[in-house]
C-alpha cells in the first residue's frame, strides 16, 4: 500500500498553496518557493525538489494548482527532456547546476541529435568530440534544433571514437551554447516558417565533467531522452495557455508561453486542422456536395477513431494493464489523418487553394495547412520507421537486415561526399 492517497495529497497541497500563492511575486521568485516546497515536480526525488509522489497522483496536484490559479514550474520545450535525462543519468553536480534553473525557466535548452547525414538513423552521428588537453573539442553540424538560437545549454550526441561499432563510439554531453565555437542558423522550411536551426560547431569546448555517464554511453543516454520525447508525443500532453490576467506573475508567464510557442504556431496546421473542416464546408456550401460529404466523413471517422485508440492505450496504462498494440499507432494515424484532411480542405477550398498569405482564406490558415502536412509523416520518426517499429515490435515480424553493426563505424558505408 502506498503511504499516499489522493485526499491527503489534495489537502496538503491545497493548504500549502493557500498559504503561499501570491500573484504579486515575480515568476522566478514564486517558482523558487514552489520548487523548495516539493510541489513543483512532486513525483521527483525528495533530494531533488520533489516528494516522490506516485505519478498517478500528480494530476491531483495539477488540479489544485489550477483551482487556485497558481503558476507551475517551467516545463515547455526541450528543458523537460533535459531534466528527465539529467535525473536519470546525471551526477550530483549536474543536478545541482541545472535542475533548479530548468524549473524556474531561467535557462533555455535545445537538443542536438539529428544531423544532415543522420535523420532516421540517429546513431550514425558524425559530429566529432575529441579530447584535447582538459577539454572535449567539438566539430560538426547538427540540424532540426528548436530554440537553439536562444538556448543556454544543449543536449549533444557526438562521436568520440570512429573505430568502435556505431552505437559504442558515442558520448552524450551538456554543451554551453553561449560560446564562440557554436553558431545557430535558422533553417527555413517549405512553409516559410523557420522553427528550427542548423547548429555549426567549430572547435567548441565542453568541460569533461559535462559528459553524462561515460564515454561510449552516448546512445544509452540519448535513448532516455528520446523515450521521454515520445512519451510526450501522443498528443494528449497539456500545455499551459496564456491566462491574459493583469497581475505581474501572469504577465511574465504569458510572455514565457508566447516565446516558447512562437516556433509552433503552424503545428496545429501540420495536423490537418480536422476541427475546421465542417465549418469550412458550410461556409463554402460544399457541405451539400455528396462526394465531399463522403470525404469529410472519412476524415472525421478516422480522426475520432484515432482519439479513442489513444484513450484506450492511456486507460490501459492507468489501470496497470499491459498495453496492446493501440499505444504504438498514434503517430502513424496522425500522418494519415493529416494527409486526408489536407485533401478535404483542398476540395472544399477549390481555386482558393492556390492562394496564400493573410488575405487568403481564414487569414492564411488554410494555405498553411495545405503546405504543412508533409511534416507530420517525417518529424519525430518517419512513417517508414514507425511501420518498421510496429511490424517488428508489435507484430513480431523479422528485423531489417543491417550493414552497420558488425564492423567499426569507420568502415560503415555513409552518405556520398559531394564533389
Amino acid at each position: 500500500m502506498s503511504q499516499y492517497d489522493a485526499d491527503s495529497v489534495r489537502k496538503d497541497v491545497r493548504q500549502w498553496l493557500e498559504a503561499n500563492w501570491d500573484t504579486s511575486l515575480g515568476l522566478v521568485e514564486w517558482r523558487n518557493k514552489l520548487i523548495d516546497s516539493g510541489w513543483g515536480e512532486p513525483h521527483w526525488p525528495k533530494q531533488w525538489y520533489g516528494r516522490e509522489l506516485p505519478v498517478g497522483l500528480v494530476p491531483v496536484v495539477d488540479e489544485e494548482m489550477e483551482r487556485i490559479g497558481a503558476v507551475g514550474v517551467a516545463r515547455m520545450g526541450i528543458r523537460s527532456l533535459a531534466a528527465a535525462t539529467i535525473l536519470a543519468h546525471g551526477t550530483d553536480l549536474h543536478k545541482q547546476k541545472f535542475l533548479r534553473r530548468i524549473l524556474t525557466g531561467e535557462d533555455t535548452w535545445c537538443q542536438l541529435f539529428s544531423e544532415p547525414g543522420s535523420g532516421s538513423d540517429l546513431a550514425g552521428a558524425l559530429t566529432r568530440a575529441e579530447r584535447r588537453g582538459n577539454k572535449w573539442i567539438v566539430n560538426g553540424q547538427k540540424v532540426w534544433n528548436t530554440s537553439a538560437h536562444k538556448a543556454d545549454w544543449g543536449l549533444l550526441l557526438a562521436r568520440t571514437n570512429m573505430d568502435l561499432v556505431k552505437h559504442k563510439g558515442l558520448a552524450y554531453f551538456i554543451i554551453n551554447m553561449r560560446q564562440p565555437g557554436v553558431e545557430a542558423v535558422p533553417l527555413k522550411q517549405m512553409n516559410g516558417h523557420a522553427s528550427f536551426n542548423q547548429v555549426f560547431f567549430t572547435d567548441a569546448e565542453v568541460e569533461p565533467e559535462m559528459m553524462l555517464l561515460d564515454d561510449g554511453d552516448g546512445w544509452k543516454v540519448a535513448t532516455t531522452t528520446l523515450m521521454h520525447e515520445r512519451r510526450g508525443a501522443d498528443g494528449l500532453r497539456r500545455y499551459p495557455k496564456p491566462s491574459g490576467r493583469p497581475e505581474r506573475i501572469y504577465q511574465e508567464e504569458d510572455a514565457e508561453i508566447a516565446s516558447a510557442l512562437a516556433p509552433y504556431t503552424w503545428y496545429p496546421q501540420r495536423m490537418g486542422r480536422v476541427d475546421l473542416i465542417l465549418e469550412r464546408a458550410r461556409q463554402t456550401g460544399k457541405i451539400a456536395d455528396p462526394v465531399t460529404r463522403q470525404e469529410i466523413a472519412k476524415v472525421l471517422i478516422m480522426s475520432r477513431s484515432a482519439d479513442w485508440t489513444a484513450r484506450r492505450a492511456r486507460v490501459a496504462q492507468e489501470m496497470g494493464r499491459s498495453q496492446g498494440p493501440e499505444g504504438s499507432l498514434g503517430k502513424l494515424a496522425a500522418s494519415y489523418i493529416a494527409r486526408a484532411a489536407n485533401r478535404v480542405h483542398t476540395t472544399i477550398s477549390g481555386a482558393d487553394a492556390m492562394l496564400t498569405g493573410p488575405d487568403s482564406t481564414m487569414g492564411g490558415v488554410i494555405a498553411e495547412i495545405l503546405i504543412s502536412t508533409p511534416a507530420i509523416s517525417i518529424a519525430g520518426g518517419t512513417d517508414e520507421i514507425q511501420k518498421n517499429i510496429i511490424s517488428e515490435r508489435v507484430l513480431d515480424m523479422p528485423k531489417e537486415p543491417r550493414n552497420d553493426t558488425d564492423r567499426p563505424f569507420r568502415d560503415v558505408p555513409k552518405n556520398a561526399e559531394r564533389k
Binding site: 484515432a306 484513450r311 494519415y336 511501420k387 518498421n388
Partner: protein
C-alpha cells in the same frame, strides 16, 4: 466503459473464445456452409444452454442474462473471428432486439424466452429487393383483418430467414410513405401464403432468404404506425454488433496472414522480412485497431444511453466495412497464389468481409447517415 473492458467482460470474452475455437474450427465452417440449414443444432444448443449467448442482452424478466450491448458485441466479435455458422445474428441480435425495442410488455414476455433459450429461432425481415435497411425503404403492405393483419409483398436478404420459426416483419399501411405508417409484425414460419426460398449467397457462412407474402396472417408487434424509431434503434444495435463481428474477423485474417508470411520462404528469407510486407502489415494493424476503438466506443455508448449512438453506430459500421475488406484483400495478397485457392481458408473470411461490407448498408450509406446524425 468506452475505453476498456471490465475484468468480467474480459473473462466473458475468453470463455466465448475458448468455446468457439473448440466448436467452430474451419473444418466445421466448411462442412456447415455446404448445407442448406447452415448450422449445427448441437452447437447451437450448447451456445444457448451452456453459455447463455442466445440470451446475452435479453433482460432477466424475459428469460435472458440481462447483460448489455457491450457483451452482445463481444460475443459477435468472437463469432466473427471464427466465422461461427449459426443463426445468432438473425435471431439474437436482430429479432430479439426488435422485439425488445418495439414490443409491449406482454409480447416481450411471450416471445423473448424462446429466443433466449435458443429453442425458437427468429429472424427480422426489413430489406426488400431494393436492399435498403430503413423504414423509408419498406414497400410491403399490411392490411387490417379482424384484429389481425394480412401482409403482401416480398422481403429479401433476410439473414437466417429460411430457418426461423418466428419472423418479425416490417410493413406499412397502404398509401403511407417514409417513416409514417410503418409497423412491426410477427409471422409464424408455417403461416399460409408465406413462401421461403434460400438465396444463393456469395458468403455461404451467412444464410440469406427471400420471403414472399401473399395475404399472410400477421400479428401487430408494438404500436401501429410507430415502428420507425424502434427500427432505427434496432439497426443501431445491429450495426454495432456487425462492426464487432467484422473487426473480429479482420483481426483473425491479419494474424493468419502474418503467420503464413513468417513461414513462407522466397529468395532465401521469410517473406515477412520484406519491408513491403511489414509496412502493409502495420497499415492493416492500424486500420483494424481504429475500427475496433470505434466499435467498442459505440457499444459502450449504446449501453450508456448516449444521445449520439446513431451517429456512432454508423461511424463504427463504416470504419469496420473498410477495415475488414481492406484486410481481406491484403490477406489474399500476402498468401499469394495459394490465397486464391478454395483449399486455403482465407476466402472464407474474404467472402464474409464482402457480404458484411454491404449488409445493413455499405460504408457510403453509413458515412452519409453519420453526417446527417451529427447535423452536417
Amino acid at each position: 466503459m468506452k475505453f476498456s473492458f471490465s475484468d468480467e467482460q474480459q473473462e466473458f470474452r475468453s470463455v466465448v473464445r475458448r468455446f468457439l475455437e473448440d466448436k467452430s474450427p474451419t473444418t466445421a465452417v466448411r462442412r456447415l456452409m455446404e448445407t442448406d440449414k447452415g448450422y449445427d443444432p448441437e452447437v447451437w444448443q450448447s451456445l444457448g444452454q451452456e453459455l447463455g449467448l442466445t440470451a446475452v442482452h435479453i433482460p432477466e424478466a424475459y428469460g435472458g442474462q440481462g447483460f448489455g450491448v457491450s457483451e452482445l458485441a463481444i460475443a459477435s466479435e468472437e463469432m466473427g473471428r471464427t466465422l461461427l455458422c449459426a443463426p445468432f445474428f438473425g435471431s439474437t441480435v436482430l429479432a430479439a432486439t426488435a422485439i425488445l425495442k418495439a414490443g409491449s410488455e406482454e409480447q416481450k414476455k411471450a416471445l423473448l424466452p424462446g429466443i433466449a433459450s435458443g429453442e425458437t429461432i427468429a429472424a427480422l425481415a426489413i430489406a426488400e429487393d431494393s436492399g435498403l435497411w430503413d423504414a423509408a425503404g419498406v414497400a410491403m403492405t399490411a392490411k387490417p383483418d379482424g384484429g389481425k393483419y394480412r401482409l403482401d409483398g416480398a422481403k429479401s436478404f433476410v439473414v437466417d430467414g429460411h430457418n426461423a420459426e418466428l419472423i418479425v416483419v416490417v410493413a406499412r399501411k397502404g398509401g403511407s410513405a417514409g417513416n409514417d405508417g410503418v409497423s412491426f409484425f410477427t409471422v409464424k414460419a408455417d403461416a399460409k401464403g408465406l413462401d421461403r426460398r434460400l438465396l444463393p449467397s456469395m458468403d455461404p457462412t451467412r444464410k440469406l432468404a427471400r420471403l414472399t407474402f401473399g395475404g399472410v396472417e400477421a400479428e401487430l408487434l408494438g404500436q401501429e404506425g410507430a415502428a420507425a424509431a424502434p427500427l432505427a434503434a434496432t439497426l443501431d444495435v445491429a450495426a454495432i454488433c456487425l462492426a464487432h463481428e467484422m473487426v473480429g474477423g479482420a483481426e483473425r485474417l491479419r494474424e493468419d496472414a502474418i503467420a503464413f508470411a513468417n513461414q513462407r520462404y522466397q529468395f532465401g528469407r521469410p517473406i515477412a522480412s520484406f519491408q513491403s510486407l511489414k509496412h502493409k502489415a502495420a497499415d492493416m494493424l492500424l486500420e483494424v485497431e481504429l475500427a475496433k476503438s470505434a466499435a467498442y466506443y459505440a457499444a459502450a455508448a449504446a449501453d450508456e444511453g448516449d444521445a449520439e449512438v446513431s451517429a456512432l453506430a454508423s461511424l463504427a459500421k463504416a470504419a469496420a466495412s473498410e477495415a475488414y475488406m481492406q484486410t481481406a484483400i491484403h490477406a489474399v495478397q500476402i498468401h499469394g497464389g495459394i490465397g486464391f485457392t478454395w483449399d486455403n481458408d482465407t476466402h472464407l473470411w474474404f467472402k464474409r468481409a464482402k457480404s458484411s461490407e454491404v449488409f445493413l448498408g455499405g460504408a457510403d450509406h453509413h458515412r452519409e447517415r453519420y453526417m446527417q446524425s451529427i447535423g452536417a
